[in-house]
């Protein structure tokens, strides 16, 4: 879910654009079943919303609540990463 939110933090995207973006930024290849499972959950939580679309490729965007949730998660991950890197640095020096 975090990968989808991170992808949408760069602007609205439709399914295929999200899969390509996530593959580039995290080297994770999401399938359509996984992506739409996450999108349905995020939509239920009110963290993403669909935009109107003229063709079948419907874009999604991050909501304000989604942006807040993503920020909290990324800060937590960053804090854990910082601690881990500090400890690695101490162990290696």
């Amino acid at each position: 879910m975090q990968l989808v939110l991170t992808s949408l933090s760069g602007g609205p995207k439709h399914g295929y654009a999200m899969i390509e973006d996530i593959e580039t930024l995290a080297a994770v290849s999401l399938g359509p079943g996984t992506l739409y499972g996450a999108l349905a959950r995020l939509e239920e939580l009110g963290w993403v919303e669909p935009l109107a679309s003229e063709d079948r490729r419907r874009p999604y965007r991050l909501t304000a609540a989604g942006a807040t949730a993503l920020r909290e998660r990324l800060e937590q991950s960053a804090a854990v990463a910082r601690v881990g890197l500090d400890r690695l640095g101490g162990a290696l020096s």
């Binding site: 439709h14 399914g15 295929y16 899969i19 399938g31 359509p32 079943g33 996984t34 992506l35 739409y36 499972g37 349905a40 959950r41 939509e43 239920e44 063709d55 079948r56 490729r57 419907r58």
Partner: protein, 328 residues
């Protein structure tokens, strides 16, 4: 020569109706893009199939509609109850072995040890639970049939035929068996040929009685194996009342418990029968184990119990949600 390749989008039919109404068109476009981008079709199809399983299990994103949750409840009740149909052939093939001593003519009969008595009790328990399950399944099916009959929504007759399918095929099969029995005459199906001084007996392969008996068995088997599909087709688009769904989820729970009891009894029977001391040579002996493949029998019962519990668990949760939504 052009060859039509399968589209992974066919897997979208595994998703519930509400999900397809909301997402199918955009996922279909995504599948086209992924395949055009070089993604293997089988990987896309597998991802969709696993996604369908997750949506069926957890109903993520399902709307707060009593009709959607009622339909979900009835589908999961079917999963909780229909695997029980496999218990009867499983028991018939593997489990229907006497727990008593096999007797040798003129041999002495040894007494049962505590383990032997436990084995025969476990075998008896299996048979009683099976009988109870069959009665419960039959009575619940009759109530379901009446509920579909009372459901006034469109396509009632078609749905009723699907739900009635197991009973109709059983009746047709029994009628063919009775007809076969009634038309059979001793010796009618056997022709004796005389060649020289030798007599040869040949059974007429197309004797009417034989045909009717075969037709009866085939109808019953086809009816039995197609029952899950037919009942699920009958339940599709049915609008069953909450009281019927409550009865169904209770039946599902009872059958889950009974399949677990049967599994425990079968395991106990097998274990206890092996602990019964082997009598002296020439004595009668307690049959050990559950026929030629006891592990297959236990694995089959474990599979039925696991499916049944999964169906019961989701059905009860869905029923509670449908009940709450109906009250709002």
């Amino acid at each position: 020569v052009s060859r039509r390749r399968f589209s992974p989008s066919v897997v979208l039919f595994c998703y519930p109706d509400w999900w397809r109404a909301r997402y199918a068109h955009e996922v279909d476009a995504l599948v086209e893009d992924l395949v055009a981008g070089g993604r293997a079709r089988w990987r896309v199809a597998l991802s969709l199939a696993l996604g369908a399983l997750r949506v069926r299990l957890f109903a993520t994103g399902a709307p707060d509609s009593a009709a959607v949750w009622r339909a979900r409840t009835s589908a999961w009740i079917a999963l909780g109850t229909l695997p029980w149909l496999a218990v009867i052939p499983l028991y018939g093939y593997f489990g229907n072995r006497s727990g008593d001593y096999e007797t040798f003519v003129g041999g002495r009969v040894g007494g049962l040890s505590g383990a032997g008595r436990l084995a025969t009790d476990a075998w008896g328990l299996m048979a009683w639970v099976l009988l109870g399950g069959v009665i419960l399944l039959g009575s619940s099916w009759l109530r379901l049939l009446l509920a579909v009959l009372r459901d006034r929504t469109a396509g009632r007759f078609r749905r009723m035929v699907f739900v009635a399918w197991p009973g109709l095929t059983l009746l047709a099969g029994l009628a063919a068996l009775l007809l076969g029995d009634a038309t059979s005459r001793p010796g009618l199906a056997t022709t004796v040929h005389r060649v020289g001084s030798h007599l040869f007996a040949a059974t007429d392969p197309v004797a009417p009685a034989r045909v009717w008996l075969s037709v009866g068995v085939i109808i019953i088997l086809v009816g039995w194996f197609t029952t899950p599909w037919a009942v699920l087709r009958g339940l599709r688009r049915s609008s069953l009342s909450l009281s019927v769904l409550q009865m169904g989820s209770r039946t599902s729970l009872a059958l889950s418990i009974s399949s677990t009891v049967m599994l425990a009894a079968a395991a106990l029977w097998q274990l206890a029968a092996r602990l019964q001391p082997v009598p002296l040579k020439g004595w009668s002996y307690l049959e050990a184990g559950l026929g030629p493949h006891p592990n297959l029998y236990l694995a089959g019962l474990a599979g039925v119990a696991a499916l049944s519990w999964a169906g019961t668990r989701v059905a009860r949760g869905s029923y509670r949600r449908a009940f709450l939504l109906a009250r709002v």
